[in-house]
Structures are given as C-alpha cells and as structure tokens.
Amino acid sequence: MSSRFVRVAETGRKTFDLIVDGVPTQAAEGDTLMVALLTTHDTLRDSEFGDGRRAGFCLMGACQDCWVWTAEGERLRACTTPAVPGMSIVTRAALVGEGVWPRPRM
C-alpha cells in the first residue's frame, strides 16, 4: 500500500505496531496517529458525503477532516492524537460495525 507522507527527519526513533483496518502497521515513537497512518497509507478515512477518501487537511485541529475510529468505536482526531502501541484503528466506514457510532469513551 502506498504512503502519502514521507519521513525526512527523526528517522532513528524506535518503532512499534498498531493495527489499521485489521492489519499490523509500523509507527514510530512520537508519531501522531495521522503520521502513523499516512506514512503507511495514502488516505485515512472516508468522506461521509460520498466524494471519496480523505487524508486530513490542516494538521492543527481546526478542520476536523482526519477523524478516524478505534475498533472499540471511539472517535479520534488523528492529527492531535499520539499514536500508541496496540491501537486498533478503523479508516473505512464499511468496516465500522452497525451501532458502533457513537459509543462512550472509556
């Protein structure tokens, strides 16, 4: 799967795994979730309005175009959420189970 973002600095960091749409994916310590997703995938979510895939826009918490879901149904803003080991992220609306949204954050 092609990536969008390209790492050009700080490449010596330790890496860890998180799960993206059921597939183990490598991230680096200090990555935002958005960077972890877009250095391994070219998009990170479906537009709810039928115009295709999205990859975020502003990277500063203003546009809300990088919302993704955890497998548990929690909504995360990928650009301001640190990636942490063991996260399981769903980027495809079709993979979000019926009734998963919205659910309380634990």
């Binding site: 390209v6 050009v8 200090g30 990555d31 070219d42 115009d51 990277l59």
Partner: protein, 479 residues
C-alpha cells in the same frame, strides 16, 4: 483616589500560548499576577514556534531557521515563568460567557471566571477552493509546515505548493532544506505586485531580506517557481487522491505538474470565533476583505475586560504578535489601575509591523476573482462536499444573499470546521452571484462550541466538576 488595586486578586485568563499569549502572560507575571494560560496545544509555542515531541533531536536552527533565536527565547521565557502561571495545555476554550470561559480538556469540563480576558487565538490558512481540492493529499500550507516541523515528515514524495503569501515560499524553502521534493511553487500573485509593495515592505528590511533569501534557496535547488498563475484543477481520484495539478500560466499556457501532495493557502485569516462569542463588535476591513473584531491601538475590544492580540485579530506575524500580546496585557493592567512602562515603545514598533503587513497583502493579494469563476461542480465546503453550484442556487432561487441565510439553506459553513476553511470563499461566491459587495454578504456568526466536543454537555458545567457521561458521547455540536 481609589485604594491601590489588589493586584494578586485580579483574575486574568490568557487564551493561547503562541508568541502573543506567552508575552501577554509574561507581562502579567511581571506585574505580580498569576494568569491562567489556556493552550489547545500540548506544549507552548503556538503554531509558528511549535515544539517537536519529546525524543526528537533537531536543533532550533533546523526547526526554525532564521527565527531560531526568537523561538528559543519564547520557549525559554515561558519555561522560566512556568511556576508563576496556571498553565492548561491540551485545553480548548469552547465558549465564552459573561466573565467566564468554558473549557474542555479530554472529557473534563470546567468554567473559569475572569476579570480580564486576553484572547491570542492565532490564525489558520485562508483558502480559496479549486476543483479537486477535496482529494486526499491536498493540505493547507500551514499543515504542510506542521508535518515537517512537528513530525519530521513531508506531506508527499512530490509536493506542489500553490496559492500565495509569505508562507508559500517559506514552506517550500523549508521542504527543500529538509531534503523533500518540491515539484513546483505556483503563486497566483505577480512579480509586479511584489514590486509595488516594496515601499511598505521596506518598513522591516530584515524580514524583506529573509523573504528574498527564501527565493534564492528555491532557485538554487532548481524548484520551478511560476508567478501570476490561475489554478485550474487538482487532478486525482476519489480512492487514491491527488495525482497532479493544472494551472494556467501568466502567458495563458497550461502547465501540468504531476505530484502526490498539494499544499494550498492564500496567506492567513484570523481565528475570530472566540472574540465573537465574547460579544465583540466586528467591522468590515477593506484591506483584508474580512470581518475583524474592532480593537483600539492596544488591543482593547468593544467589550470591557476583553482584549485581543496577535494574528488572531490582525495578521501581522509572530514578531508583531509578541509585542501586541504584551501591549494587550499592559492595557488590561492599566484598566485595572496598574500602570506599567513600555506601552509607547510597543505601539511605535507595532506601527512598522502594520505597514509591513499591508505590504504583504499588496504583494500577495487574496484572489477574490477566482470565486466567481469556480465551476459549479467545485466543492466549496470540504466538510460536507457542498458545491459552488449549490451555494449559487440558494442565492439565486431562494434569495439567500446574506451569509447566515445562505448557510442555513446550503449548509456551506455548517460543517465540522465551522466555516474556517470555506466561509471566506463562500462569501465571495455569494457576493458574485448576488452582484452585491462582499461587505453586504455579512459574516457567519460564531457558534459554540467552536469545535466539536467529545460528549454531550450537561446543562450547567461548574468549576472543577467533571461531567460524567454515559451513552451518547461523540455527539457533534456544529449548528
């Protein structure tokens, strides 16, 4: 004579920890106060002097270039007063009531009372839509900079920078220096416009020289720079996003640049929602063609006790923001009967930055004319994929020539970005369709919460109270 004011009892809330917010807080601390500093970021610095995460190792010179010393000074001064302020990182002000701000951090809600409020909310990119800008891989120019500065990433393997403004050249040069590939810089402004702005830009020769140095970096790296372009389309596919950019060059030829990412922006716009929620009066500003909160020379808004500073009220850059932040704090102190030195010098210095900022607007003008020319199928509202054609329809068929009415009918501006990235271009589309001046379209009213909140709000949120919630938690509160 009134009794000497009880300085320490004065409750001041500073919103923002960028250049303006930090300098405002510092002036308050120097006067013996302990301000609350509310920061949406995890660390101080704001967007321009944003700090990299723990464990990253790039130097200040690498991160901030010619501004390294300023960034280091701001970070150092913030650290030095850290114990003298009530710092609230990772905290959003989502509403402002009379003499109190409503904040949320994670799922914890709180109301913080103030005697004086200094809002230093910063700016975001000013955007003009272009067909295809909804494809994955189009980012704001500011976002492209955040990716590099804060995360050590380029937004693509081959990036096109498009739009206009100082950030266009700054981000392009930063990408080049970091070893990223910039496939082209496509500026909608012309070299002649830059030349005409020179007298004003000479108000701050050192900054002008830095700008020219950026151009040299791009030239030396062989990055194609085209001026006077008209964006035609960002090509791509709904599944895999951006594959290229097409523009019309100044000589009317069409240029196609293959790429996998586009950084787009037309200078900056002030984040004014909090000033709006605080009840501040706004005026239409001819120079920027935007509605801005009314302030006096020192940053006093029309509401007693509410002060506005930095790019969040007038886009004049980080150096000006440091001064405006301090000046606003001095105004707040003065209004409370605490006189401090230094305001006159700050006002004089700000005058130069105001002239320089006017020069930048002249050199890199907002291309209002593009809005009228957008094809009907162009998405204006990225949040909900609403097209220019739909917005024009509600103007034409429903007589919605006022911004809030057009929003109600079309939903442009009603999505989760709350109009940040569509309202200004949307207003231009409305004005062009209705054949009225932009000012007559008005402005979208600020709505609380200014960003979607992670949960339903209890009827009253009291200080220090964490609202327990069950069931519906991720409900949106966009209007």
């Amino acid at each position: 004579m009134a009794a000497p004011p009880d300085v320490k009892a004065m409750k001041v809330v500073v919103v923002g920890a960028g250049p303006a917010g930090v300098r405002a807080a510092q002036a308050l601390v120097e006067a013996g106060l302990r301000p609350v500093v509310i920061d949406e970021g995890r660390k101080d610095g704001g967007q321009i002097y944003r700090r990299q995460p723990d464990g990253f190792s790039r130097s200040y010179e690498t991160l901030y270039g010619t501004e390294a010393a300023r960034a280091a000074a701001l970070h150092r001064d913030f650290q030095a007063m850290r114990a003298s302020i009530d710092y609230r990182p990772d905290t959003l002000v989502w509403n402002i009531g009379p003499k109190a701000v409503h904040v949320v951090s994670g799922t914890r809600y709180e109301e913080i009372a103030f005697d004086a409020l200094i809002v230093c909310g910063g700016a975001t990119d000013r955007l003009m839509p272009v067909p295809g800008w909804h494809f994955a891989g189009t980012f704001s120019l500011g976002g492209a900079q955040v990716a590099l500065k804060s995360q050590g990433c380029a937004i693509g393997a081959r990036t096109v920078m498009m739009g206009t403004g100082p950030l266009l050249y700054l981000v392009a040069a930063q990408y080049v220096k970091a070893g990223a590939t910039v496939s082209a810089v496509l500026d909608t402004s012309t070299f002649a416009q830059c030349l005409r702005a020179l007298p004003q830009l000479l108000a701050i020769p050192s900054t002008l020289r830095k700008g020219m140095a950026l151009m040299r970096v791009l030239k030396k790296a062989g990055v194609p720079v085209h001026r006077g372009v008209t964006p035609v389309e960002i090509d791509g596919s709904p599944e895999h996003g951006v594959s290229g950019v097409r523009v019309k060059l100044a000589d009317a030829r069409t240029l196609e640049v293959p790429c996998d990412a586009v950084a787009l922006g037309y200078h900056l716009r002030s984040e004014t929602q909090l000033a709006d929620l605080a009840g501040c009066d706004f005026d239409f500003d001819d120079a920027t063609q935007t509605w801005l909160p009314r302030i006096d020379e020192d940053g006093r808004s029309s509401i007693a006790g509410v002060y506005l500073a930095g790019d969040g009220v007038r886009v004049r850059g980080a150096d000006a923001a440091e001064r405006a932040g301090r000046l606003a704090a001095l105004a707040a102190l003065s209004d409370a009967g605490i006189q401090r030195e230094g305001a006159a010098r700050l006002r004089a210095e700000l005058g130069r930055f105001t002239r320089f900022a006017a020069g930048l607007r002249r050199a890199f003008p907002w291309p209002a004319r593009f809005a009228a020319a957008l094809p009907d199928e162009t998405i204006v509202c990225r949040c909900e994929a609403i097209t220019a054609g739909e917005l024009r329809r509600v103007v034409r068929e429903m007589g919605a020539t006022e911004a809030n009415r057009a929003k109600a009918f079309s939903r442009v501006g009603m999505g989760r970005c709350q109009g940040r990235f569509c309202a200004q271009a949307g207003a231009e589309v409305i004005a062009a369709e209705a054949h009225v001046p932009l000012e007559a379209v008005g402005r979208l009213r600020g709505q609380a919460p200014v960003k979607p909140l992670p949960m339903a709000i209890a009827p009253a949120c009291h200080a220090e109270r964490t609202v327990e919630h069950a069931g519906q938690c991720t409900q949106e509160f966009s209007e």
